[in-house]
Amino acid sequence: MKKWNLVIDVAECHNCNNCFISAKDEYVGNEFPGYSAPQPLHGHKWIDIKSRERGSFPFVDVAYVPTMCNHCDDAPCVKAGRGAVTKREDGIVIIDPVKARGRSDLVDACPYGAIWWNAELDLPQAWTFDAHLLDRGADAPRCVKACPTGAMRSFKVSDDEMRRITQDEGLEELAPEFKTRPRVLYKNLHRYNKEFVAGTVVAISNDVADCVSDATVELFDGTACIGSAVTDAFGEFKIDRLEPRPRALRLHVSHASFVPRDLEFMFDSHSIALAEIALQRAT
């Protein structure tokens, strides 16, 4: 049995909002009996792009994470729905726009906050994976087709095949702690939920500063090396995918032409750029 899955690459999303707009365009003012009642013009974000900025000026980056109904295989809303929410054979979860009337409890049932309450229609609503379009032959939901970077891809494959893709591409769940077996998976999620240490390596001779490229930078937590990088032409390095927990870390900077340096610092669990690291030329 082939089922639908959505894969989102956080590193490729640049927040153009075409997915958000697609889900607005498709559902605002349109009723698809058996699938969905109209989405309100404002307020609801059935596809909702979360963002997070890491670090501070000038060592700053930003990640965008489009979120939506995860079409979970162990969906709390289906359990809570008592027939108002159904899981289709192709994996898609549909909140019945008639049976779910008045069921504001379903909004709270979703741990991801992906179900929206339509006060006017007295109805909980979520993104249907554009099931009404897929059922009439579309090969992908609209958000995928409108995505300019390829950050969003859909797969209609067997669960075995999807497990292989998940493994090959290192896909992750947005919140594994919810244990709901979502059908929306993410790539490069570290850009959103992990931290980095960055900095610049320079050398000063005769009062003239220059960037040091090709220096090796290693990051230690105790004796364990938890990441390394090589400085670029601007002397910059960035060590990513660090767990966000406070601890003392040590940086070791080495380069064939310079005296190595060690720096100890307190990592407070947030991404950090260290003060400029100056190296002395080896004699």
Partner: protein
């Protein structure tokens, strides 16, 4: 004989089709009148009487017909009728085509051998009947699943499919090509083959079209300002404050037509000013350069001169070094995609964010190419005060820079290159002049100051070692320089006090690196795709139906292919867009023209009022809101309330910031409610081959997807009905509907050779096959120059008279070489544009100590991301819900201002607080977005709010609409230019108490 038979066929056809078509029947029943078609001498003729819903007809000459269509001879009459009727017979068209001479019809009309006589009320009505007869059964769109019809349209952000059911738009999606549509090009580079996906991308504002069509801000009925009485008190002082009453179309058009007549009689030539947006809803027929100019030319008007808003520094500065005035001083757009992928090692993005501004109209077509470049390991560097979308996404080194100081950094880069020998000495020696004088300036031989990395640091905030690393990377790697979204020369840095210096610096740096050599060029993979650039289809600046041979490229290509009546404005008076308020308020203004024919055209000062002309007494505003795009915007509010401005009519789709200052509002419909024709991203003469940013050339029949909402009408129809009141309807419309004009454009283009009108009308688009043969692809830009050959890119400029010696040899400059010390600037005395490009700090920036002490934040206002300028913004659309566009606070959507957390903390501002941005020019209320992506001391807020909502008296109170240009200076970059410099702006910010508005 033939003529009399054709006249009889016409009478039969009218009755037969009336029986089939309710629309035709209804139209024929609308007025009682008699039309006569005849040979002038009366030898052949037939009359058609419309009375009580019936049409009767007989051969002969009627006694007192209301409409007379007459021909000098029966044979001319036959040929014209066959020509006009050819659209009825799709199947017979190929057979008839050799006998159809469109030129003959126009020629006969111009020479009065073919005349339409009678009151316009009846002549227009009769041509409406004939046009309906000819076109009522033409089928548009395809039936698809779900009982929907799939139509096609075109936006400023790409082509779209429009799904319609029961007369309502269901959805708007990117165009999805079918297997029958021509496939994409491929490029081989570094052992790989790159092919873009077989699809069309779409910008967010295009995708949001449905919510813009059904916006609650749509103008659905004609309206008159409640305290405006054309025959009594006009109360101009209340413009922007008083409300409106609904009126009929007849009343609105009568008032407007009467005012046109009155001001021309009472005040004389030039009393009417036409102001329009620099863009419009897409389409060659309805564009501002088409229907609008055709009508304005017909009534005689004062022309608003558009300054090169997005090109300022390039046009007024860079062009003097290397030419390209026809491209406003920006670079050739040929072959860069292939050359960059094959040869480049580094792309320097300087004031360049293509993922935000989408090139120019080009959606995300180049996004995939930038991903290829990243895969190939081409390095990226981004110089910008804001870590923009492209920088954040594609990666690479971000070099934040103090706004307005770019030229200092550029001189320091040149300094490192000169000191370390990292420039192309052979190229500089053989392809350029004046380099030694530039070297003398950079090394301080001229003024005793070495323009070293250490020197520039105090100006730019860029550390010296970063400048050295940048210069060494750039000087040792084959480098593409990307300026602005399209990469060839735009960018916020060119719209500021140092914008001319900056753009000049950019071309000088590239000349030092051998511009045009393999891997050394302008671009960011957006422009210069290998498309077929010989397949002709008119772009919007080819003038559409304007017939305007002065302000559009009509005469260059379109007119020869689609014969039509030319039009010409008879008034000589002009006003720079940037000085409209002064012209109205002070009665005096001066300007410098955006004359692209030569390097010297821009030096020709003009004055307002023009000799013997009337001051402006009436404003005909066509689309868009200028409050969001006019520096020191409050000037405009004051001008609007001037006693001297007797009448303001605004023809607009939405109730935007500027509409509320009109005396009469004419509601236009969107391009989804009328028919038009166009090509994606094709600007015609305003950007020759602009479409070569795309992966596929897509030509569209813009279907009329739904009926106009409310009582709104198409722009063309509004002008036609005004023309009717001025006796101009036959001249304006040439007895054609928009749909028939679409067909004329179709027939005149190469499109008619590859697809039938019937099929094109039904399907709605055609994909022009890409240029697959390497031999036919345009060579890389400037390679000819770098190699000392004749120009060999398919670019028809510069004009022949611009070459110094032999045609096609050398650049447009006097020497034919790249001039570090331009000859044109040496002969024009402008102290703000010295021949050698020197760094002069901004006249409004961190160096202006007194003002900086009072207003310590620099405001930059780049082109917006989610709206196309003002189009798309503020119309209660879904775009409002994008938090990077507007932020909702207590039910109102505020414009966003981005500031660094350091600057916010010192002002006790939290994320999403409402804040007041202010300086001596005014104040604007925005929502704060705190981000480390903007450097401390800088505030980033896009320009182009479509809303202008002063909380008190217009022109003097804070604006909650978000027109941040209220704060920016009206000063020109140089006093001897008409240029805008919004990015030189100092402000202060404080938390704002909403009570100030509520009270």
């Amino acid at each position: 004989m033939v003529f009399s038979v054709l006249l009889r066929i016409l009478s039969i056809a009218l009755n037969v089709h009336a029986a089939r078509s309710p629309v035709l029947r209804e139209l024929m029943a609308k007025k009682d009148f008699v039309a006569q078609i005849r040979v002038k001498d009366g030898s052949v003729g037939r009359w058609y009487r419309f009375a009580a819903g019936k049409m009767t007809s007989a051969a002969g000459i009627a006694a007192a017909p209301d409409v007379v269509i007459q021909f000098k001879s029966a044979s001319l009459g036959s040929r014209v009728l066959i020509h006009l009727g050819s659209g009825m017979f799709h199947f017979a068209y190929p057979l008839l085509k050799p006998f159809l001479e469109p030129m003959e019809v126009v020629s006969a009309a111009k020479n009065f051998a073919f005349e339409v006589k009678g009151d316009d009320e009846f002549t227009l009505h009769f041509t409406d009947i004939l046009n309906t007869l000819l076109t009522h059964y033409w089928k548009q769109g395809l039936q698809v699943a779900g009982g929907e019809t799939r139509y096609v349209n075109q936006t400023n952000g790409g082509p779209v499919f429009v799904y319609v059911k029961d007369g309502r738009i269901v959805r708007v999606t990117p165009v999805e090509f079918g297997a029958e549509d021509s496939g994409p090009w491929s490029i081989e580079a570094r052992g790989r083959v790159f092919t873009p996906p077989h699809r069309a991308t779409l910008s967010p504002h295009g995708l949001a079209s449905k919510s813009l069509v059904y916006s609650s801000k749509r103008l659905l009925y004609p309206m008159r300002r409640i305290d405006f009485d054309p025959n009594g008190e006009r109360n101009p002082q209340n413009r922007g404050k008083s409300g409106y009453v609904r009126i009929s179309w007849d009343e609105a058009l009568d008032i407007t037509a009467n005012e046109i007549k009155r001001v021309r009689r009472a005040h004389g030539h030039g009393a009417i000013l036409n102001s329009h947006s620099s863009h419009h809803t897409w389409g060659n027929i309805g564009y501002y350069l088409s229907s609008n100019i055709r009508f304005m030319n017909a009534i005689g008007y004062t022309k608003m001169v558009l300054n090169p808003d997005s090109w300022e520094g390039w046009f007024w500065g860079a062009s003097h070094h290397y030419g390209y005035t026809m491209r406003m001083g920006t670079a050739e757009p040929y072959g860069q995609v292939e050359d960059c992928l094959k040869e480049a090692e580094l792309i320097v993005y300087w004031a360049s964010d293509p993922e935000t501004t989408c090139g120019s109209y080009a959606a995300f077509e180049a996004t995939v190419r930038r991903q290829w470049a990243r895969e190939l390991g081409i390095q990226m560097i981004h110089i910008d005060p804001y870590k923009n979308t492209t920088a954040s996404w594609i990666g690479g080194k971000w070099i934040p820079i103090v706004p307005g100081t770019g030229p200092a950094l550029a001189h320091a880069i040149a300094y490192v290159w000169i000191k370390e020998g990292l420039y192309d000495k052979e190229y500089v020696l053989t392809r350029t002049t004046g380099f030694e004088k530039y070297v003398a300036y950079v090394l301080g031989e001229e003024d005793g100051i070495e323009k070293s990395p250490e020197w520039q640091a105090a100006e730019t905030g860029v550390q010296p070692q970063v400048v050295r690393a940048l210069a060494r990377q750039w000087g040792t790697k084959r480098t593409y320089l990307s300026c602005g979204g399209k990469g060839l020369g735009f960018g916020g840095a060119n719209r500021g006090a140092t914008g001319i210096q900056w753009a000049r610096s950019m071309v000088c740096l590239m000349a030092m690196q051998g511009l045009g050599k393999p891997g050394v060029n302008f671009g960011n993979l957006t422009a210069g795709a290998p498309l077929d650039m010989q397949f002709y289809f008119p772009g919007y600046a080819d003038g559409g139906i304007s017939g305007d041979i002065e302000g559009t490229a009509d005469a260059v290509q379109n007119y020869q292919r689609m014969p039509h009546l030319i039009s010409m404005n008879t008034a000589s008076q002009r006003i720079s867009r940037l000085r409209i308020p002064e012209a109205i308020l002070d009665g005096e203004a001066e300007g410098y023209p955006t004359d692209s024919k030569s390097l010297e055209g821009q030096f020709q000062r003009f004055a307002y009022p023009a000799a013997g002309h009337s001051p402006i007494r009436m404003l005909y505003k066509y689309g868009g809101s200028h409050f969001g795009t006019t520096m020191e915007s409050n000037r405009l509010a004051k001008a609007y309330r001037s006693e001297g401005l007797e009448f303001v009519v605004n023809q607009s789709i939405w109730n935007e910031g500027e509409t509320q200052f009109a005396d009469v509002i004419l509601p236009a419909c969107t391009n989804f409610e009328r028919t038009d024709i166009s090509e994606w991203a094709s600007s015609g003469g305003y950007g020759h081959h602009n479409y070569n940013q795309l992966n596929h050339r897509v030509i569209t029949l813009q279907h009329k997807c739904i009926e106009p909402l409310g009582e709104s009408k198409s722009d063309f129809r509004i002008f036609l009905e005004l023309a009717q009141r001025l006796g101009l309807s036959a001249y304006f419309g040439e007895a054609k509907t928009e749909l028939q004009w679409c067909r004329e454009q179709f027939l005149s283009s190469d499109l008619s050779k590859v697809i039938s009108w019937k099929e094109f009308l039904r399907k709605g688009y055609y994909v022009v096959p890409a240029e697959h043969k390497q031999e036919n692809r345009a060579p890389a830009s400037m390679r000819w120059f770098a190699e000392g050959r004749k120009k060999d890119v398919p670019e028809p400029s510069p004009l022949p008279g611009e070459y110094g010696e032999k045609y096609l040899e050398g650049l447009q400059t006097q020497s034919g070489k790249f001039e570090f010390e331009p000859s044109s600037l040496k002969r024009f005395d402008d102290p703000e544009r010295p021949p050698i490009n020197r760094y002069v700090p901004s006249w409004e920036g961190r160096q202006t100590k007194e003002l900086f002490a009072k207003y310590p934040l620099q405001l930059i206002t780049p082109h917006p991301r989610f709206s196309f300028h003002t189009m798309g913004d503020g119309k209660d659309s879904v775009l409002n819900d994008i938090v990077d566009h507007r932020i909702e606070v207590d039910g109102y959507y505020y414009w966003v201002a981005r500031l660094n957390p350091i600057d916010a903390a010192s002002r006790e501002i939290q994320d999403r607080d409402l804040i007041k941005l202010y300086n001596d020019r005014g104040s604007v209320i925005c929502a704060a977005a705190l981000t480390g992506r903007v450097m401390p001391g800088v505030v980033h807020s896009y320009e182009s709010s479509a809303e202008y909502r002063p909380i008190g008296d217009p022109g003097t109170s804070p604006d909650i609409g978000g027109c941040v240009n209220i704060l920016t200076p009206k000063r020109h970059i140089s006093a001897k230019t008409s240029s805008s410099s919004p990015n030189s702006c100092l402000i202060e910010i404080e938390k704002w108490d909403r009570k100030e508005w509520v009270k």
